[in-house]
């Protein structure tokens, strides 16, 4: 009997810890972030913003600013050559607010200047006189829904209203639990501040923009419309991106920078500081959610009722899609036959909100997982048991009527998480640094209570509701060198590494060059919605397979072999029925092959008026268990450990997957106990990293992660996106753990010390 042992995967291929191609530049400081871009004869740009959340612009006087030495141009709404509006779904946001029109949020752009130095820009902005007629801001979403608020925008004060009604709305359960929940406004807080460099074409009829963004082609479409230029006159190149998390999906400084460059005929760079960054990009929607679960006595969910209100702030951005994500994930990863859900995304004079990691599902999950613990308590069932009892499986129907045909290992995720050992008890002589409050030394060891909490979630992957968010990739062999081109935004997640892994695996080569990421190839869609591994991974795979097939056909032709029998085995081309064997590197030395491929996911549908329809492409699942120590008297919390099992389909790069999980958990922890943009009467009170608190090295809990690998047949590589699930159910898991420790209801995140102790 012979025993065959599978060879370990070749270094750098799929499934291995391939190293990042940008790693050396990033550790050496040579990686060019968009904030590092520089051009000969460059000017600096800066933006004047409204201090008022709601006002009419009576007049703008730029005459004093023009007199400042070094000022090259000043632009206002009147200087926008194309449409003075942009937006991802609806173009309702002005490039600049116009005289006679309204400013709708504190921070809205009114003018921009270009000058020889950032300090000159600052002086010029201070010299621009704007007269406002100030109004009371509309900040209560309920007033907008009720139609009692003044109309802020010609498009109205409700971005979208959608109901979901399924099954029998009149059915009731033996056990009923309900709650009102609130989620605060979280900031993506990427470290790499917004920055762009625009270089005008010599003829002045086009522009090249170096920009840190999530979606080059969508940016280009919106910029070109505002500039009144055909799209081929606007070329975008990805500047190094210092994190994104949703905040770079919308236009911020793109149009302003291009406009200043075209007006002056000189390269212009705009770079935001941290405070301006808080005003310059959208945030996670704050939401209020009422939810009621009906269940049998033993805890099986019979019906869910919910009302969700998302405050989208002044402009639409992706609010309608965020709303749909929220309401279609009301049930969480649980079976549910009957549901009545009502959802609103509303316009107010609060800061505009849009995409952030988790995209509407974070808010819904916080509510349904808070409910699951209430249901467990009401039924006298363990929180783990109640989740297992209701766990969704492949083939189950969502409340939208859509059948979950993705792999759905919800039970496996819960059981694998439960199997991870709990951390040891806090020792009686614990170092003060290990107890809540840390080196502040304020908590008393004898007061500390430990709590355990659970959160489980489902997350849709890719874009929904009929949108064809395809991706494109080009694979070339020239002079024996393999190169890949795509417009996929590398924001830190490591797609550049994955693209090389795919090419090495498919083509059997070790060296893979990556071409510049720009708009000189078809769209890749956005780096969001946990979609690039699936979508751009699918496109790179398809392009490489097309090239490989050409190579095999060539080998077959010149060696009188049947191409059907040729495979790439490691780094060799092998005839599986014969003796032919030749290194790929040798075969491709004199070949020229060039293939471009698009990958499209299966089409999806809009929801009907009852919220029914196959609106999502696929789903991923994850379970989180959090352990916390709490000092209930002082309200101090330390998250000790987060255990997690995540459904990933297939691990393509283990270290990279772990990185996504640990990073996502830190962000979810932030929303649970630290992070909130505090907005009072339309004004941001804490636009800085001294006042907006981010998790540090000492806040990050131990993370014990397990990956559930069940090959996803719908996915081109068998893998699911791993980016968003880590930050979704960890937030309610931590909240449930604090509730477990304190017995308090804590209906709102972030949970602040005074929520716990007062």
């Amino acid at each position: 009997m012979s025993v065959s042992v599978a060879a370990p995967p070749r270094a750098g291929t799929l499934g291995t810890n391939a190293s990042r191609p940008d790693g050396i530049a990033k550790v050496q400081g040579g990686f060019a972030f968009s904030s590092d871009m520089w051009a000969e004869n460059m000017l600096w740009g800066a933006t004047l913003r409204s201090p008022h959340p709601f006002a009419r612009i009576v007049s703008i006087d730029v005459s004093a600013a023009w007199k400042i030495n070094g000022v090259e141009t000043i632009v206002t709404a009147d200087d926008v050559p194309g449409v003075n509006a942009y937006g991802l779904i609806v173009q309702d946001q002005p490039v600049f607010a116009r005289v006679g029109d309204l400013v709708r949020y504190s921070g809205e752009p009114i003018a921009a200047v270009a000058a020889d130095h950032p300090e000159t820009c600052k002086r010029a902005l201070e010299a621009i006189k704007v007269e406002y007629e100030v109004f009371d801001p509309v900040v209560d979403p309920e007033e907008c829904i009720a139609g009692r608020a003044p109309e802020i925008h010609p498009h109205g004060n409700v971005f979208r209203h959608q109901r979901i009604v399924t099954g029998d709305p009149s059915v009731t359960g033996d056990v009923v639990v309900e709650g009102d929940y609130e989620i605060g406004m979280q900031d993506q807080a990427f470290l790499g501040l917004e920055a762009a460099l625009a270089i005008p074409d010599s003829g002045g009829d086009g522009v090249e923009l170096y920009i840190a963004t999530q979606w080059l082609h969508e940016d280009r479409k919106q910029i070109a419309a505002c500039l009144g230029l055909p799209e081929d006159k606007v070329r975008l190149v990805l500047g190094g991106v210092g994190g994104a998390f949703g905040a770079r999906e919308d236009i911020s400084l793109q149009v302003h920078t291009c406009l200043l460059a075209l007006r002056t005929g000189r390269p212009v760079r705009i770079a935001y500081g941290r405070e301006e960054s808080f005003y310059g990009h959208v945030h996670r929607h704050p939401a209020r959610i009422w939810m009621r679960h009906h269940a049998t006595r033993d805890g099986r969910i019979v019906k869910i009722e919910s009302r969700m209100v998302f405050d989208g702030g002044a402009y639409c951005s992706t609010s309608p899609a965020v709303l749909i994500n929220g309401i279609t994930h009301t049930q969480g990863p649980y079976k549910c036959d009957n549901a009545v859900v009502d959802g609103f995304a509303v316009r107010t004079n609060n800061p505009p909100c849009g995409a952030m990691r988790g995209f509407g599902v974070v808010q819904a999950c916080y509510a349904h997982e808070s409910q699951m613990d209430k249901l467990a308590a009401a039924c006298g069932v363990d929180p783990v048991e109640i989740r297992l009892l209701n766990a969704m499986e492949t083939g189950d129907k969502l409340i939208t009527g859509q059948v979950v045909d993705s792999v759905a290992p919800v039970e496996e995720c819960i059981r694998a998480t439960a199997a991870i050992p709990l951390p040891p008890d806090l020792p009686s002589d614990a170092d003060f640094r290990d107890i809540p409050g840390g080196s502040g030394r304020t908590a008393d060891r004898s007061h500390i209570r430990r709590g355990i909490g659970w959160g489980v979630s489902i997350k849709n992957l890719m874009y929904s509701e009929g949108f064809d968010d395809y991706s494109t990739a080009r694979c070339r062999i020239s002079n024996g060198v393999v190169s890949i081109k795509f417009a996929t935004a590398e924001v830190g997640q490591g797609f550049v590494m994955l693209a090389q892994q795919i090419a090495r695996t498919v083509l059997g080569v070790d060296e893979v060059l990556l071409d510049t990421i720009d708009t000189q190839v078809g769209s890749a869609g956005s780096t969001s919605a946990s979609r690039q591994t699936w979508m751009s991974g699918g496109a790179v795979n398809a392009a490489c397979v097309a090239v490989r097939d050409k190579v095999l056909a060539h080998v077959a032709q010149y060696n009188d072999l049947d191409a059907e029998n040729l495979v790439v085995d490691g780094t060799e081309i092998v005839d599986i029925r014969g003796t032919f064997r030749k290194p790929v590197a040798e075969v491709i030395r004199h070949l020229e092959v060039d293939e471009t491929a698009e990958y499209h996911h299966p089409p999806t549908e809009d929801l009907d008026e009852n919220g029914q329809g196959n609106c999502h492409v696929a789903f991923a699942f994850v379970a989180h268990r959090a352990v916390v120590d709490v000092d209930p008297e002082l309200g101090l919390v330390k998250v000790v450990q987060v255990a997690t099992a995540q459904d990933v389909g297939r691990v393509l790069n283990p270290l990279s997957c772990v990185g996504q999980v640990e990073g996502g958990i830190a962000q979810g922890l932030g929303l649970a106990v630290m992070e909130e943009i505090v907005v009072t009467n339309g004004k941001v009170r804490n636009p800085s990293f001294t006042d907006y608190l981010l998790p540090t090295f000492l806040d990050a809990p131990d993370v014990e992660a397990v990956f559930i690998e069940e090959f996803e047949p719908k996915s081109p590589l068998g893998a699911k996106g791993v980016g968003e699930p880590p930050c979704i159910s960890v937030t309610p898991a931590i909240a449930n753990a604090i509730r477990n420790a304190t017995g308090r209801e804590l209906p709102r995140v972030p949970i602040r010390p005074y929520d716990v102790c007062l």
Binding site: A32, D36, F697
Partner: protein, 152 residues
């Protein structure tokens, strides 16, 4: 004001405005853009570099305060032959970075920490680097990288 600063082994004599921050000086006057600005309020540590061997947040220091000092930025950390510093290598091998924006500051803070505590515990690393923020990694791989560099 005229300052004389040795940056990455090269002496520079420069005229700077009194208000110029050290980070602005190295980025804009010297073109050393590896040192990043993340917050403007000394909260994030992305601008960390070494002044006379010690890690400082260069947005808290005026360029004139560095007069006469030896400054090392991330660009000056690798060997003269271009070989990576062990800390840079450890960050790569342990996936201690994603977007990489915090990385130069992290590496500079971490090398300074190891100088002070050559055999740190995990706790030492976490406390020592608490002033440096990372939004991507959740910090664990950075801790692993620093410990790996310390031979643990």
């Amino acid at each position: 004001m005229q300052i004389r600063v040795t940056v990455n082994g090269v002496e520079h004599v420069s005229d700077v405005e009194p208000r110029t921050l050290l980070v602005q000086y190295v980025r804009e006057a010297l073109g050393l853009t590896g040192t990043n600005v993340g917050c403007d309020t000394s909260s994030c540590g992305a601008c960390s570099l070494h002044v006379d061997g010690e890690a400082v947040k260069s947005c808290t220091l005026l360029a004139v305060q560095a007069d006469g000092a030896k400054v090392t930025t991330i660009e000056g950390l690798a060997g003269k032959d271009g070989s990576l510093h062990p800390m840079q290598k450890a960050f790569m091998e342990n996936h201690g970075l994603q977007c990489g924006y915090c990385t130069p500051g992290m590496v500079m803070a971490a090398t300074s920490l190891l100088k002070e505590i050559p055999n740190p515990t995990e706790e030492d690393v976490r406390i020592g680097l608490e002033g440096n923020l990372c939004r991507c990694t959740g910090y664990h791989n950075i801790v692993k990288a620093v410990l790996a560099c310390a031979g643990k």
